[in-house]
């Protein structure tokens, strides 16, 4: 039993190490590619403005490679949209206005944090409902189990059980 558990732990550590390696490789690869494509994206001169643009860009989802933000993606469209974000911020527009500009064209899909409305209620409330249902079911099951009567043994049955246990112990040792 014990050694088995240790084996489990070792394999778990191996899994973590493997995942870390994959993560590093993937991250490293992404970094190299981003560096290669750097001239395509045009950071603006003002570092504060660029920081704002990047922060906003990280909240906006790329439509081509759908699991990356437009700040991370190397898709052409992501570069175009990032440049739009920069231009509009530089022209004095607020973050909210730029966000509205993109939502008007591409829909709520571009937002990593979609607004709470009728069509997105399940998305926002669903996890809490599921978690609550799970906890409630667990609580009820535990309470039922606690209330169940533990069967008591008569003196005769207890003696028999003891004898059986002793028997298996001895056999186990031999």
């Amino acid at each position: 039993m014990r050694s088995h558990r240790r084996a489990e732990r070792v394999s778990a550590w191996r899994g973590v190490a493997f995942a870390a390696m994959i993560f590093l490789l993937a991250g490293g690869g992404g970094f190299v590619r981003a560096a290669e494509d750097a001239p395509k994206a045009q950071p603006v001169g003002d570092p504060a403005l660029e920081a704002r643009a990047l922060k906003l860009g990280h909240e906006l989802r790329c439509l081509v490679c759908q699991n990356q933000s437009i700040a991370e993606s190397n898709a052409e469209l992501a570069h175009d949209l990032m440049n739009q974000v920069r231009e509009q911020l530089a022209a004095g527009k607020s973050e909210e206005e730029v966000r509205a500009y993109l939502v008007a064209r591409y829909g709520d899909f571009v937002l990593y944090q979609p607004p709470l409305k009728a069509s997105t209620v399940a998305l926002w409330v669903g996890p809490f409902v599921l978690a609550f249902t799970g906890v409630f079911a667990l609580w009820r099951a535990l309470r039922r189990r606690a209330r169940e009567e533990v069967p008591t043994l008569s003196a005769e049955e207890a003696a028999r059980a003891e004898a059986l246990l002793r028997d298996t112990d001895e056999r186990g040792q031999s």
């Binding site: 081509v64 759908q66 469209l77 591409y106």
Partner: protein, 198 residues
């Protein structure tokens, strides 16, 4: 066996149904918020006569389709014969939005090209392509930087918008049009738009 014990099974079946449904959806097809809204206006040069600037208002009064294309787009080549058929046999008015003809072509190094050179090259390539494969468009316009395409929420080529006589976008199709797409999806919508105009 009590019915209660079957509950996990029912939940499992319900989840299975949900997954089966979700697998049939295409997450790449993002619904456009522009459907039901006026087609964004633009003023772009015509491919065949770049000194003439045109916009969506030039097609007001009858339904039309805006088709986003480029010579480097393989799927556009695929749908081109279909567009020719639509223009010739179905009487569909097509406006071609040529999307990033030069800078969208991944095989070209466009880092040192001047805006004038880019425009000249784009005109040459687009005209040559239309001359060789046939021109299904009432006219095509040049969107070199892809800005008008962003206004239309374009995120790939080809894409096609159905626009009614009042200039309202009625439908957006993502990807190439083939005979099946036309027959099952676009043709009924197009017929409805034409019927409304008459």
């Amino acid at each position: 066996m009590k019915l209660k014990h079957l509950i996990p099974f029912f939940i499992f079946v319900a989840l299975l149904g949900l997954f089966a449904y979700a697998f049939r959806l295409d997450p790449r097809e993002v619904p456009s918020p522009l459907v039901g809204k006026p087609a964004p206006t633009f003023a772009l040069p015509r491919v065949d006569a770049p000194e003439t600037i045109v916009g969506p208002d030039d097609l007001r009064g009858r339904p039309w389709m805006l088709n986003v294309w480029a010579t480097w787009c393989v799927a556009c080549r695929e749908e081109h014969a279909m567009l020719m058929r639509l223009a010739r046999e179905e009487g569909v008015t097509l406006l071609g939005l040529n999307y990033k003809e030069i800078r969208g072509d991944a095989s070209l190094d466009t880092s040192r090209i001047s805006p004038r050179e880019e425009r000249e090259a784009a005109l040459l390539r687009a005209r040559d392509w239309l001359a060789r494969h046939g021109d299904p468009y009432r006219f095509s316009v040049l969107d070199l930087e892809g800005r008008v395409a962003i206004d239309y929420g374009v995120y790939g080529v080809p894409e096609t918008f159905l626009i009614d006589a009042e200039g309202i976008i009625r439908y957006k199709h993502i990807g190439p049009i083939d005979e099946r797409v036309w027959r099952e999806v676009l043709q009924p919508k197009w017929a409805a738009l034409e019927g409304a105009t008459r």
